[in-house]
């Protein structure tokens, strides 16, 4: 019982994931700054941002559904935190069952839906636009992402993340067999996180702040936290699904490799946001359905053929 509560609250639950979220955000911002010839923020920056948001006044324009606006960030935060529980961290698994990959996928989609609802429930016109765009974007990246991450599952013969990462001990990292699937999954993750090249729902020059335009204070803080934790969970998930690690017995080496792989993922994400421009929504839909879906199907077919 105590152990359960501890693992919910501290590791791999709330505290650990929030901490990781803040650290990853700082690394990401620092890297991006370096790409742009800047110095970048100090290490405590994400924490300061968060604390400041909680210290601020909570303003809400007239006419919004108060309860909905309060609940949405909380629901999405808890959804991603729950998703994080099922993912093994450096081989350490606290909760796992057959089929948790599907549950994680579902839970990871909750913030997007909540984001959409937040836009609809808000009174601002930009929020409304941003919400609509988020759902459009969701349809573009979600299908290739789902198909792509079913690749490792098929290969390992299991729908449990822990089992999949175990299977790689014997077979080697799946990214070797499925480079295409890995790239597609990264694209999907960027879309999920609404990060730079796919930040269509929150593009500041087009729709100001997206759905979150009218949010302020603690609610915005919760949204920010959701995004951070979602990034952590997504990175952990992809590391587990694709990168795996070789069979080392020393736990420290395993943790080291795991961290290294996570940093690599952050590098990939910030590199992508530094290099690529934002797409138009019709270009994204075209890309998603005309290129990414066929590619992911191709990859899945390849995996199935290999298994036969």
């Amino acid at each position: 019982m105590l152990r359960g509560i501890l693992s919910l609250l501290i590791f791999p639950g709330l505290a650990f994931q929030v901490l990781c979220g803040l650290i990853f955000e700082w690394i990401d911002r620092k890297l991006l700054a370096r790409f742009q010839r800047r110095v970048g923020p100090p290490w405590y920056q994400p924490a300061a941002d968060l604390v400041k948001l909680f210290s601020k006044e909570d303003l809400m324009p007239e006419g919004v559904y108060d309860l909905v606006e309060v609940l949405l960030p909380l629901i999405s935060l808890s959804a991603v935190l729950t998703a994080g529980l099922y993912i093994p961290i450096a081989g350490f698994t606290s909760f796992s069952f057959e089929g948790d990959l599907i549950v994680i996928q579902f839970l990871m989609s909750v913030p997007t839906l909540a984001y959409y609802l937040a836009g609809i429930a808000s009174v601002g016109i930009y929020s409304f636009l941003g919400g609509g765009r988020s759902i459009l974007q969701y349809f573009s990246y979600e299908v290739p992402l789902l198909i792509a991450i079913s690749g490792p599952a098929v290969m390992a013969g299991s729908w449990s993340v822990a089992q999949i990462s175990q299977a790689q001990l014997g077979m080697g990292p799946f990214v070797i067999f499925q480079p295409l699937g890995f790239i597609l999954a990264v694209v999907g993750l960027i879309g999920k996180l609404k990060r730079d090249p796919l930040d269509i729902p929150s593009a500041s020059t087009e729709v100001v702040g997206g759905s979150l335009t009218e949010f302020s204070g603690a609610k915005l803080g919760f949204w920010q936290l959701t995004m951070n934790v979602q990034a952590v969970v997504g990175i952990f998930l992809l590391v587990n699904l694709y990168l795996g690690w070789l069979n080392f017995t020393a736990p420290l080496v395993v943790v080291g490799i795991f961290l290294l792989e996570c940093l690599l993922m952050v590098l990939v994400l910030s590199g992508a946001s530094a290099i690529f421009a934002r797409l138009r929504i019709d270009q994204l839909a075209g890309l998603g359905w005309k290129i990414l879906v066929p590619l992911s199907l191709l990859q899945l077919g390849f995996v199935i053929l290999m298994g036969v």
């Binding site: 300061a48 006044e57 335009t213 009218e214 949010f215 302020s216």
Partner: protein, 147 residues
């Protein structure tokens, strides 16, 4: 005791994470491009934790440039009203401090302090980015001391 500590933490966070929003109340672009310049490599203001935000509801500090024209007055007030407190206003440039070269015009009200309570004034025409940074550092000190 605990309350004091929370207050202190909050002040530390507010000081280190100033999200700014910039509104041109009728200026000549000179200060505006210098503010944009702050984001760029040479003056990289993200070192101080300052980033620009698109929506006034996310912002903590309002940077005003230019004298307040009759038309821009309402917009300025609206933006200020939309910002959640605690919030600060910085008048960048001589124009937004006093009206400077546009004194005596029929369509210019004068400095930003005709409309809003201003915390820091930065004179200069246009202000060098270093000057703006100096003003923002002053603002940070003021916040740290509970301003």
């Amino acid at each position: 005791m605990l309350k004091e500590m929370i207050k202190k933490t909050y002040r530390w966070a507010q000081k280190n994470s100033l999200w700014m929003i910039h509104y041109n109340t009728g200026g000549c672009n000179g200060c505006d491009i210098e503010i944009l310049d702050l984001l760029t490599p040479r003056y990289d203001i993200e070192r101080l934790g300052i980033i620009t935000k698109a929506s006034p509801r996310h912002a903590d500090v309002l940077l005003c440039t230019g004298p307040v024209t009759l038309q821009a007055k309402d917009g300025l007030w609206q933006i200020y009203a939309q910002m959640p407190s605690p919030k600060w206003v910085v008048a960048v440039g001589s124009c937004s401090t006093t009206g400077a070269v546009f004194y005596g015009s029929d369509t210019v009200l004068g400095g930003v302090d005709h409309i809003l309570p201003v915390d820091i004034y930065i004179p200069g025409c246009p202000v060098r980015p270093e000057g703006i940074i100096e003003g923002l550092v002053k603002l940070r000190e003021r916040i740290a001391h509970g301003g």
